[in-house]
Subunit: 334 residues, 2 copies
Amino acid sequence: VPSVTSADVARESGVSRTTVSYVLNDTTGVTISAATRARVRDTAQRLGYTPSAAARTLRTGRSDLVLCVLPDWPRGPAIDTLLDHLAGELAGRGLILLVHHGRASRPLSELWRAVTPRAVVGLTAFNPQEREAMQRAGIQVLGSMLDEDVPGGGDSSSGAFSVCQARVGRLQVRHLVGAGHRVIGYAAPTDRRVTDFVEPRLAGVRSECVALGLPEPVLQPVGQEVASAAEAVRGWRASTPRVEAVAAYNDEVAIAVLAGMRAEALSAPDDLAVIGVDDIPFARLTVPALTTVSQSLEAQAHHLGAAVLADLDGRTGRLEPLGEVLDVVVRESA
Amino acid sequence: VPSVTSADVARESGVSRTTVSYVLNDTTGVTISAATRARVRDTAQRLGYTPSAAARTLRTGRSDLVLCVLPDWPRGPAIDTLLDHLAGELAGRGLILLVHHGRASRPLSELWRAVTPRAVVGLTAFNPQEREAMQRAGIQVLGSMLDEDVPGGGDSSSGAFSVCQARVGRLQVRHLVGAGHRVIGYAAPTDRRVTDFVEPRLAGVRSECVALGLPEPVLQPVGQEVASAAEAVRGWRASTPRVEAVAAYNDEVAIAVLAGMRAEALSAPDDLAVIGVDDIPFARLTVPALTTVSQSLEAQAHHLGAAVLADLDGRTGRLEPLGEVLDVVVRESA
DNA sequence: CTGAAAGCGCTTACAG
DNA sequence: CTGAAAGCGCTTACAG
């Protein structure tokens, strides 16, 4: 494969590879005549030269790649939105976002050694050993949404970036209670892969119930079929005291609950109020339209991108805090 | 960063780097004593040695990465399923699937030069120039679902892999007609980014209508809100002759149509039959449950993986054909 | 202001 | 059966 190298550009321009490198990388601290610069740029362009990423990575020890590791759990439109925005943030600075879908799961070390990314963003938690190994290799490690439970949202000190999931649950309860309900049910997904996410949200629901002096929330598993959801609905209706409102793990579960209610000839919010999380596009297409907690993925992506770029610039110290990204979107179901 | 290199392993094992490389790569055509092999493997393990991907890529000109370029359009669970399975197929052979979300769209050349992948899989069409540039760089290029319209499905000659989208449309019509309908409507998404996908499916719907002597399908754009869908529904009901059944671009559009019908106090399939595409999880949660065309992403992922691996092994010639992957999932809406 | 040279960590003819 | 040496394409002290 006759690829064009910096040596070709050098020869063709009548300069050394050193000069080519200086010009093309806008190296500071060297002075090169405007004429030479132009000539080098020109031939590079003409020859269609693009530097070998492998060589550059080998030499400098760092690449322009940012690796995002997705956990095994099912993705929804929320994640896609986050990734799209993050990719945009990074692209503006010459960084390329690459996403690995975790299901195949070879060991994580194999993954980052094969990619040599400049930063790794984990949407699932890393174990401390892995985290340390990556950092030793000079890779910036950005933590997971699950890493902590600080009131007010993210905390940049450990590289964690995202919204405290317990707050999501607390917000759901607060809205439900504000609408006059006092007996809360929780709709948990049956998919075991998401337990890491379910737990903090449920914990938030629990703690808010306690704080407000409500009875313990009634937990029901809800699968993605009508029968399973209907059974959960019957369970809530049969519990004493009768559940009045359900906080669902996310919109998908909430929509299943709505379907289960229809099968039981019940309707929201009168028979049972329902609130989801994420505000996926389908949320406005259900009957009744779904009330839900939105997470402003754009803001989170921006914050995450900023964290990566800050480190890139060697900027240290704390990032500006993420700010409030949670918002209750009130529609009809609660 | 004191990373452990093959030289470290060599020194520690009392052999040369050559031997280390031979052992760790299972190089054929060299004979190395079992004792040496064991010793090298052992120290490598003990030292936590993992080869530098950058160095290996620079030396050999090829990496263990497979790059999948996603187009700008919205992804659904179907794509995720495809990617998960593909990643699994490739992982079995030591290849790592990396996905780039196209929205950010730096030039494609920048992308593959930065990654140096062994193969690039495009779910959108590549322009011939890009395709050729990648091939010149020794990268295997796997084409898009859109590349052709050969009856019977895929065609491996050009590297294209996937299901002919026109057949999807034809199958929708065939099912609708089989259920006794003769006036067909088509529900197209309003999102302009998917036109490349809409067109072949719609063309399939059209051609099947012609083949069966039915009137031209009545096209209506359907957005992801109830109002937009309701308007489309009114349009179909008002057309002469009145539309009896709707083929939707995909399940999301079909679900919007169902929502629009409910707003108009109409019900499927009696007032209007509806069929989608993809069989997303929500398809079984609508009322009535959605009839749809499923695409067997598993089979497609397997086929795609096989294409990549075949080239990896230097196997040439045609792959076994993909076989039938389309299937009508009959529920209640049509 | 520009160039010759070393070296990043690997693989692979080639020599012993 | 094993090792010394070259070279992949780049960047970056260092010398001129």
